[in-house]
Symmetry: C2
Subunit: 257 residues, 2 copies
C-alpha cells in the first residue's frame, strides 16, 4: 500500500501502534476501526486521523464487548478529539441521520453496499441478504475460551459471550449446525470443510465470491432485514440523500411544535 | 389498574391478546413492548395504540434476538402503522434525535432516569451506574436450554445466545461468578442466595431498593458508560432539549454545505 501511495488506509484488529507510524510517515491518512472507548483512545494517542466505531449489529467481526452503535458512538465522540465515523446498523438515510445525530462525522457501510449491482459478490450471497429477516443474523463467539479475568488491569481475556464475535446470516447450513448444539464460530468453522480438507480457500471467499453456501454462511449485519432490492450504488446514495432530507424536515417539524 | 382508570398501560412479556381487549374496553391506551418485527405486527394486529421497540443495549429483559435499537426501530416503523417509541441506548439529546431520525415518535428511557435525584433507587445502585464504563454491562442468557428448531414454523425455541436475555452491570459479584465459568442468568441467579434460602425478596428489590450488591447486580443499559451525574429529572429533560437543539443545528449545517 505504501509504495502505491494510497491516500487512506483503514486498519482494524491489532494495535494502532503497529502500522500508524509508517503509514503517517508516507503521507497516508490512517483510520482505525474500534469498538470500545479504550481502543478509540489508544488509536487517537497513536496518532491516527480518525476512528471508525463499529457496533455489534454490523456484519463480520464485531468486537469483544457487543456494544451497539447507538451506545458506543456518542461515548467515543466524548472521549476523543479526532473525527468519529459510525459503522454497524446503517442501511438508509434514517440510519445516516441517526449516526450524525449521535455525533459521528460520517458513516461506514458494509452490508448495504454488498447488496448493490456493482458489488462483485456472488448472486446467491446477495439473494441471501435479501431473504434475511430482522432476526436472521447471529453473532457467534470466536477465539479460545479462557475465563480468567485480571482484576488489577480489568483485562477479562477471552470470556464466553465477551470474546470476539462474528456476525453471520443464519442460513440453512448454520441453522442445521446450531440445531446440533454448536454455537461458537470455532466449533462450526474451525476446521476446513470435511469434503475438502486440504483446500486453500477460506469461508469468506467460498461464500461471497463462489456462492458456495452449503457448508458456510456469509457475514452480514442486522440491517439485512431492511434490504429488499439491489440498486446501483448511485441509486442507493441518491435515495439516502433524499431520505436524509426528509428526516431533517421531520426533525424541524418536531422543533416547530 | 382498570378500576383506577389509569390513562395508559405499558405491557411487556406475553401475548398482546392477553390484556389488550379488556384494557381497550375500559378506555385505557395500550402500549406493548416489543423487540422484533413479528412481535410488533402481532401487537398492532391485536389493536394496541403504540409499540415500544426495545433494543438489546437496554437494561434488564432485552428480548430473544439481540436486535439493536439502530436496526430494529426503522424495521418496525416500516412494518406497522401505529406510533413506534424507541427504547434502549437513549441517554441524552443526541440519542433522542437519533431515535427520531430512525422514525420513532418518542423515546422510552430507563437507566438514565434511574440515575436522577428523584428516583427511589438505593444510593449504592445509583453509584454503581455512575461507576460503570462503556464495556461494563453484559447480556446474560435466560431460560432453559432447548436447541430444537422447528424448520416449518421458523420457531427456534430457546437456543443458546438467542434465548431471552437480561442485561446487568458487571459488578464485583458478577465478575467473580463469571470467572468461575458461569455465564447464564439461571446459573447465577436461579436459586435464592445461599445465605438466605427462604427469602421472599427478589434480585431487583434486593439490588435496587435495598442496595445489597454482594450477591447480585443491577439491571442497566450500555449507556451507563455515559452517565456521570445525578441531575434532577427537570435538569435532565432541560439538558436533553438543549442538546437536541444543538444536534438539529448541526444537522442543518451538514445540509447547507
Amino acid at each position: 500500500g505504501i509504495e502505491e501511495k494510497v491516500p487512506v488506509a483503514i486498519v482494524s484488529q491489532g494495535s494502532p501502534l503497529m502500522y500508524t507510524p509508517a503509514l503517517k510517515k508516507a503521507g497516508i491518512r490512517v483510520i482505525q476501526v474500534c469498538s470500545t472507548v479504550r481502543h478509540a483512545r489508544k488509536a487517537a494517542d497513536a496518532g491516527v486521523d480518525a476512528v471508525v466505531v463499529s457496533g455489534t449489529e454490523g456484519g463480520g467481526h464485531s468486537g469483544f464487548d457487543q456494544l451497539t452503535t447507538m451506545c458506543i458512538v456518542p461515548q467515543v465522540v466524548d472521549a476523543v478529539d479526532i473525527p468519529v465515523i459510525a459503522g454497524g446498523g446503517i442501511g438508509d438515510g434514517r440510519g445516516l441521520m441517526a449516526a450524525l445525530s449521535l455525533g459521528a462525522e460520517g458513516v461506514y457501510m458494509g452490508t448495504r453496499f454488498i447488496a448493490t449491482r456493482e458489488c462483485p459478490a456472488h448472486p446467491r450471497a446477495k439473494e441471501l441478504i435479501l431473504a434475511t429477516p430482522d432476526t436472521g443474523t447471529i453473532s457467534l463467539r470466536h477465539g479460545a475460551p479462557s475465563p480468567a479475568v485480571d482484576d488489577a488491569t480489568g483485562n477479562r481475556g477471552f470470556v464466553e459471550e465477551r470474546r470476539g464475535s462474528i456476525r453471520l446470516v443464519i442460513n440453512d447450513y448454520l441453522r442445521r449446525v446450531m440445531a446440533d448444539g454448536k454455537f461458537s464460530y470455532d466449533e462450526i468453522f474451525g476446521k476446513a470443510s470435511p469434503d475438502d480438507p486440504g483446500k486453500k480457500s477460506n469461508r469468506t471467499v467460498d461464500s461471497y465470491i463462489w456462492g458456495k453456501l452449503e457448508n458456510t454462511s456469509i457475514s452480514a449485519g442486522q440491517i439485512s432485514g431492511m434490504i429488499r432490492d439491489l440498486p446501483t450504488c448511485r441509486e442507493l446514495v441518491e435515495r439516502m440523500v433524499a431520505q436524509a432530507e426528509a428526516v431533517l424536515k421531520r426533525l424541524r417539524g418536531f422543533h416547530a411544535e
